[in-house]
Symmetry: C2
Subunit: 565 residues, 2 copies
């Protein structure tokens, strides 16, 4: 078998941006060719972006994607790259039923030279592929200079049987997989173990090219890699950034080692960076350059502000302190110190005059009066958003969202919620990690970090720390009535987060939770809170469906999409 | 073949309410038995309610449902009904993989006597069944007194092949189908034509029992029916109400005609009633007894107020007039007249003092200042909701929601939006119909109508009409700046609604819309507005997913659910 060089092009695409995605392919293909790659592989659904959800159902979109693939093949040849094998993902159309396909195509010699359709269509968790695509049913082996390259798309290698089993029977020299595999904590090891198993099954090296970047509520971590048939890790690309790496197969061992194997990230750094990249890409793809948020002096808004500063620069963060009659002086000072450390804009908008004006008409008490304060703050944040063109970021964490411990249209206001999938105990951990990163001058997964050793304005950090220690250590409080503490309404977070993890992540029911060792009172409290909070999390108004196609559940378009045909 | 009497029990279940649903089965089974039914059939997933979404994935829920089916079989026998064949839907568990099944069971002789698992699992539009259930693969024929009863569940008859094709080969005397088929305009005729085709295919009568009632954003219309093998309609139950009807098969023609065939509803009445029932059931199943909403004097809030009064009685509707400096006197008068006609509570909360208080701090102009007015109103509506325990209903229609012509956290505030699937032109049509209904003393699909001839307070209708004519006829305006008209920002609704129908309902792309005959400027305006409005419709904050199971797309629980285990 011939010596062959593959390039792994780990790129960040944008859903619907056919032009931008194709241009990026062209640019990476040029570099790959100049580095003597024979094959350059891009992630799943490269041209269309991923996931495209119901955009796949629009015929004009599929036509435009098909035209773009042909344009790209022509353009590559015109560029002198017709000899290169360029493997990209796109959307296809099933000839028999006219339904969408999740397709891999090979561009070569100025044409769309070969195609393969994804066989296993995931339809669990965040995936809705069986809903929109028709499954392919043929395995495909490419003959490239006599090297037999089997191909597969993402879920195809996660399920037993199907195309990988067929390829194992047909006999291949290398298994090339293109992926749109969203980030999850700890998934690096899971993917590696899976790839090792499949490489052994087909008796050949496996190349895993993954997408990178944020798309709506998903973050793709990249981390592309190559394993040998015996399971040896031959290459690993960095996470959370675009990257082009190379692997020479069927060459002497010393040549193979020319590939890079990056270290895995620290778990806190990994999660923090995922959150920052999600926000950064959501802003970029929706054309926001700055954010606004309420800065209460509490840990949630502090961590979100730090993430926002890392995503778009401290000077593009507009923090608003909105003290009420119940806000402590310490909270106000902590918010101001953090803003200074980040080099962020910082305004003070007291809510007491507004609260008084409402109460003059409404005379509220109890929870209604507490919610009123949170909603006045929501109105102010949205006023900043509207008048300055800033993205409002919400600061709620997973523990409080799960329990409904937030005010709908109040502190829940915002277009993006960077920590909505972090339990409160994790918020504290990441805040401590962020302070260490600032103190020790660490980078953040390749992203530029704000305030290493010095504040954003170039002055030393207040008290020598980025996020004020008091924000991390004080007892959490919504400060909506005198002396209020989260623990008045919720179990202590150390316990609550464990119950939430079991109830939500593992779908444990009441009997399971008791068997897990949690006490009955806590279990009943948490289940009641979580079950009642569902409508708050899905706060868009429900309404009856009376036509064939309504908004809401039966129409699922990506929020971020550049497609306008 | 023996003479056999079937009862069609068209009931309104509640998701997760195993006790309540089972009690209702018991109650209807008793009546059916007392009327000499041999078989009584209930809708799809009777015991669990439908659709149960990811609740199906919780093992303790499936266990509880199984226990409830057994309890019910025992209870029926103890009640002297062991001889009756009671056909109910529930959730099952696949023995091989432990995955959920959408199951039909027959309760008889004190036991769960037979079972059938749904074969075709719809996964389009509002349906997510392939995502949560494992398909069954066996057709089932029940031998009841020598009569061969083939069974199927909902989607099984919408697809070619599968169990119906098998039953046609096996030969059956009757095809019994249990359904959870959501309402759509005009679906009565579609279902009938389909049933006629399947009845011909199996060469036997087809019994179609459908669920009735609202569940989150779905409304089930009932409308159960029976067609003979030759396509003759033998029975049709009313829409939008619980009902128990009977059909004698294999008896003389004169006996068959003892069944009732209700007339179809007027199309406007049908849609109006669907909206009212959706709201009414959402309130009942979430324990709300009253609603609150802003009454602007415009047609959207007027129609929603009328629907709310029909759902819960005018005395349980709390309308709030929230005039600004830009509100016309006519609008205020129209709102007051409507409230009086409906017998609704009516408060006036001017927003100018609040607007001034905010502006003292924020100094907004343009759209930011317009949104501020809408958001102050949102805060007031939510204050009424929180302090009085009322459901806030949103008044947005499909045209404005589609185009993003509303203020997030402002007029879009609310837990339920009764007209969110009605285009603006339909809002006008239904308002005119509602006025005719009031004037002519019509009932509304079996629901109690508020204000026939007289206002809710027993006084004559203002100017002799329920919804003020001016609300229907004046040019639509958000009244957020002097002289503002919807047509400043949007195409005229008569045109806009046609483009929206083509773009949204038919997924027509730009080229298709031009081919439909719409002019280029309008097409580009509408596409730009609709594409940008997606995030407003899905206004819950997005956030990155970093754990195996986050909120949002990868966890889909019903909002209304009575299950607490």
């Amino acid at each position: 078998m011939t010596d062959i060089r593959f390039a792994l092009a780990q790129i960040d695409t944008c859903v619907g941006d056919l032009d931008g995605n194709a241009d990026k392919v062209l640019q990476y293909a040029r570099i790959a060719a100049s580095n003597h790659a024979r094959v350059v592989a891009f992630p799943e659904m490269t041209l269309t972006g991923y996931p495209i959800e119901d955009l796949a159902l629009r015929a004009t979109f599929r036509t435009a994607a098909w035209n773009k693939a042909n344009w790209l093949a022509t353009e590559l040849e015109a560029d002198g790259l017709g000899d290169l094998f360029v493997v990209v993902g796109t959307v296809g159309t099933d000839r028999e039923h006219g339904k969408p396909l999740n397709r891999l195509v090979v561009l070569h010699d100025g044409v769309v030279w070969a195609g393969y359709d994804k066989h296993f269509l995931p339809n669990y968790g965040v995936f809705d592929e069986f809903r929109i695509f028709t499954p392919g049913n043929k395995s495909v082996v490419l003959d490239i200079d006599g090297v037999n390259v089997g191909v597969a798309i993402c879920e195809d290698i996660w399920q037993d049987g199907g195309p990988v089993a067929e390829l194992a029977e047909r006999g291949i020299d290398v298994l090339l997989t293109i992926n749109g595999s969203p980030y999850e904590e700890g998934k690096t090891d899971t993917r590696l173990a899976l790839a090792q198993r499949r490489a052994a099954e087909v008796g050949a090296p496996l190349i895993y090219v993954n997408q990178v970047g944020g798309q709506d509520d998903l973050v793709f971590d990249g981390g592309s890699f190559v394993v040998d048939a015996d399971g040896t890790l031959l290459e690993r690309s960095p996470m959370f950034m675009e990257n082009l790496s190379y692997i020479n197969l069927n060459t002497a061992a010393d040549k193979q080692l020319a590939s890079t194997i990056v270290d895995k990230l620290d778990p806190d750094e990994e999660v923090y960076t995922a959150c920052v990249l999600g926000l950064k890409d959501y802003m970029a793809k929706n054309h926001f350059t700055g954010v606004t948020l309420g800065l209460s002096g509490g840990i949630d808004s502090a961590l979100v502000a730090a993430m926002a500063a890392d995503a778009c620069g401290g000077g593009n963060v507009h923090g608003i302190s909105m003290p009420s009659m119940y806000s402590s002086d310490g909270s106000k000072d902590d918010a101001a110190d953090l803003a200074e450390n980040l080099g962020a804009h910082y305004d003070i908008q007291p809510i007491e005059p507004l609260f008084t004006a409402y109460q003059h008409q409404l005379h509220l008490d109890g929870v209604a009066a507490e919610n009123l304060q949170a909603r006045i703050r929501g109105v102010i944040v949205m006023a900043y958003s509207n008048s300055k063109g800033l993205l409002a970021v919400a600061t709620g964490n997973k523990s409080e969202l799960a329990c409904g411990y937030s005010t709908i249209y109040g502190d829940a206001v915002g277009g993006y919620a960077p920590i909505k999938d972090l339990l409160k105990t994790r918020v504290w951990e990441l805040s401590r990690w962020r302070n260490r990163a600032a103190a020790e001058g660490m980078g953040i997964g390749g992203l530029k970090i704000v305030g290493n050793e010095q504040g954003g304005a170039g002055v030393p950090l207040k008290n020598g720390v980025m996020i004020p220690v008091n924000s991390i250590e004080k007892a959490p409080s919504a400060e909506l009535r005198p002396g209020q503490k989260d623990s008045d309404s919720l179990p202590e977070y150390a316990l609550l987060d464990k119950v939430l993890a079991a109830y939500i992540e593992k779908a444990h029911g009441r009997a399971d939770l008791l068997a897990d060792g949690f006490d009955e009172a806590t279990v009943d409290t948490v289940m009641r809170l979580v079950d009642r909070a569902e409508w708050k999390r899905r706060q868009y108004p429900l309404g009856p469906k009376v036509t064939a196609l309504a908004f809401g559940r039966d129409r699922r378009l990506p929020i971020t999409s550049a497609f306008r045909e």
